[in-house]
């Protein structure tokens, strides 16, 4: 009897239990709990833009930690890849991550050259959902696709919103000289600046192009100083931004003309210091001192988790997570064919700059772009208090305008 028990009944009972458990786990409800989605960050973690890449990653981690790595019924696996700020490397990493991890979402960086190359791949492979932060107008313009979305404003908006606000403040500016970066983003920005100046009848004396890897821009500063311009428009980003603004201060450009930088991300301002920023005008997508509930809460949480005040890049990456989590929860789906139409129908929501909305026809989030003024060291209330918001604009491309004769929602999925 004992032998029958040990040889047949007990193993049979265990076998039954195994079958039962397997059966239970294969029910739809159990499968949904177990299902995993992959959130891939393919960003610039090395090179001159490394600081922004790290900031974006930290914001994503903050959101996922707050939500226990869950979005709706799905567990989120975070994978990261470094573009090394090179288009070819970015494309390779994107292809690798698509093949290996099959992500639902790829969140990427802000080098336009890298982003244009990656968006092209996304368009060809039809997915995954791609959040880009390049500022080149074409990313949600001529080179956009149904899978690509963007919060960062395009150069079109940056030039028309912030530059226009700056020119409104200084109506005496009749001649300007501009310095831009010698690659895709710089060419696009230069064209948009030229368009604004032309509309206003302001003479553009010269456009200087400087490589992103330059270590000294003294020749450009001397040329600008001797040009007789009323304003110097600086379109630099990353390491060269610090070099440009520092040397503009060093060569005394502020004494002979107005200086306006089209960019002004917090982590770049930290390297320059208030002595150089004093009296300069800058522009940015967001500022940590924005007087709205979203910003107040986000700054508080980010500072508590990472010990520093976040910049605009962190804000936009956190918002991407927030929007995707909301839609995955709402639709209960992890299918791009369900999520993309839902993103297009997003409508108005509370974002980093206040009330924001999705322009579905071009997959661009519409929000304010800010004009900032560099504070003097004596005006600072705390360490990161480099600028004050003195203006804002929200001028985005209109559907049907030259170069924008399309509707992304009509593209096949």
């Amino acid at each position: 009897m004992k032998s029958i028990m040990t040889k047949i009944v007990i193993p049979g009972f265990i076998l039954m239990l195994v079958f039962l458990c397997t059966g239970l786990l294969s029910t739809p409800a159990a499968q949904a709990v177990e299902k995993e989605i992959v959130w891939a960050i393919v960003d610039d973690f090395s090179g001159p833009f490394a600081a922004t890449g790290v900031e974006g990653h930290n914001a994503t981690v903050l959101f996922l930690e707050e939500h226990n790595y869950k979005m709706g019924p799905y567990t989120v696996k975070l994978v990261t890849r470094d573009t090394e700020l090179k288009p070819a490397v970015g494309v390779r990493r994107l292809q690798e991550v698509i093949a290996e991890a099959k992500p639902l979402i790829v969140s990427s960086g802000n080098s336009s050259a890298v982003q244009l190359a990656m968006a092209d791949i996304i368009g060809k492979t039809k997915g995954p959902i791609f959040w880009t932060d390049g500022w080149d107008t074409r990313l949600t313009g001529a080179n956009g696709n149904r899978y690509t979305f963007r919060w960062a404003s395009p150069n079109y908006t940056i030039a028309r919103s912030a530059l226009s606000s700056f020119l409104d403040k200084f109506p005496d500016v009749k001649k300007v000289i501009q310095i831009q970066m010698d690659y895709a983003w710089g060419y696009d920005m230069a064209e948009n600046v030229e368009a604004v100046l032309k509309e206003r009848g302001i003479k553009l004396l010269k456009t200087q192009y400087v490589p992103a890897t330059a270590i000294d821009v003294s020749v450009f500063m001397t040329e600008a100083k001797g040009s007789g311009a009323d304003a110097y428009i600086i379109g630099l980003y990353g390491k060269i931004f610090g070099i440009g603004l520092r040397q503009a201060h060093e060569f005394g450009l502020k004494k002979v003309m107005k200086v306006f930088s089209i960019t002004g991300t917090l982590n770049m301002l930290r390297g320059i210091g208030s002595d150089a920023l004093e009296g300069m005008y800058l522009a940015d997508h967001w500022n940590h001192a924005m007087p709205n509930e979203w910003s107040r809460k986000f700054v508080e949480k980010y500072k508590k988790r990472w010990g520093v005040i976040p910049g605009d890049y962190a804000a936009k990456k956190y918002l991407e997570c927030q929007l995707m989590e909301r839609l995955i929860k709402h639709t209960g789906s992890a299918d791009p064919k369900v999520l993309i139409p839902a993103l297009e129908k997003l409508g108005e929501f509370d974002g980093p700059t206040g009330k924001e909305n999705m322009a579905a026809w071009q997959h661009q989030i519409v929000h304010d772009f800010l004009l900032l003024r560099g504070k003097a060291p004596r005006e600072k209330a705390y360490e990161d208090d480099y600028v004050e918001v003195v203006g804002a604009g929200r001028i985005y491309p209109r559907q049907g305008e030259k170069g924008f004769e399309f509707d992304r929602t009509k593209d096949p999925l």
Binding site: K239, I243, R246, G271
Partner: protein
């Protein structure tokens, strides 16, 4: 029509940039000339020097902390150099050049990433000493005081190094160890120790260059040594590998060519550096003051 004041200011920009690059290239050239090592890690030594100055400035609360930091950085960088030579480079003497390149290039990457881990990737501010802020009138044009100062200081240091190597008794020992190590050894010279100290001197010069240049670049980042390395190599190739006078000449030529290009077409100011190197390599492959063939 370009004004004469702009032309003069651009020439000064060129000379200042050239002298700063020559200061860095002097260390690179010294290491190559005496040790026969092509040191790709030189750019990271420049970067560490800048970070050391920044660190000293954070820790010190004394007047003129930039200068105190710069002075403290010199022996610190010499110690870094001593350790690199003693524990890594020593095994490379007499080995094929490719091993030296792999080791020093690997070292560049390791140092760069280590600095990113320790200090983070956010740019760190290293402002100009307040007494050197602003511009000074040079007759026809005004020029930033700090740039003028770095130009004069850089020239003085390069002259000092040249004098030490070419005219002092200790310099004679270094040259003898480089040119004929076997004979030097038979005369009782500890050549290994000479190589170690030569590398330490080269490292200190790189660190000094980094510290002096830092206030001009608007934020320290771990990547600042990479681009500068390329320019240092151009200076050394133009001036002649292993020649201190060549490094100075190469730096100044490079700077002036760059400055004049800036007058007429500023975007070409970087391109002309490579063009100048190409022309020199075609006409005189050993460089302007290179002797062609070193230890």
């Amino acid at each position: 029509m370009v004004n004469i004041d702009v032309i003069l200011a651009q020439v000064f920009n060129g000379i200042q940039f050239g002298v700063l690059m020559a200061l860095l290239a002097t260390g690179l050239s010294l290491i190559f000339g005496m040790l026969g090592i092509i040191n790709f890690a030189h750019g990271s030594l420049y970067m560490i020097g800048a970070y050391f100055v920044w660190t000293c400035m954070q820790m010190l609360n004394v007047p003129g902390k930039f200068w105190v930091g710069l002075i403290i950085t010199l022996p610190l960088m010499a110690i870094v150099g001593l350790m690199i030579e003693r524990f890594l480079l020593r095994w490379m003497y007499g080995q094929p050049v490719v091993y030296q390149i792999l080791l020093t290039f690997g070292l560049l990457l390791v140092i760069q990433q280590s600095v990113a881990l320790i200090y983070g990737t956010t740019p760190l501010p290293l402002g100009m000493p307040s007494s050197f802020e602003g511009e000074i009138s040079l007759g026809l044009f005004r020029y930033p005081v700090y740039r003028l100062f770095t130009m004069i200081l850089g020239l003085a240091i390069i002259f000092g190094v040249w004098y030490f190597i070419e005219r002092s008794a200790l310099g004679a020992i270094i040259r003898a160890s480089a040119e004929d190590p076997e004979t030097a050894k038979t005369l009782g010279v500890n050549t290994r120790r000479v190589y170690t100290w030569t590398f330490a001197l080269g490292s200190a010069l790189a660190g000094l260059g980094g510290g002096l240049h830092a206030p001009l670049i608007g934020g320290l980042q771990h990547t600042i040594g990479t681009e500068i390395l390329l320019i240092c190599f151009i200076v050394v190739v133009i001036g002649g590998m292993g020649s201190i006078r060549g490094a100075l000449l190469g730096g100044i030529i490079l700077g002036i060519v760059r400055g004049i290009a800036g007058v007429f077409w500023a975007p070409a100011s970087d391109f002309v550096m490579f063009a100048a190197m190409g022309i020199i390599l075609m006409i005189r492959p050993q460089g302007l003051l290179g002797r062609g063939g070193t230890r």
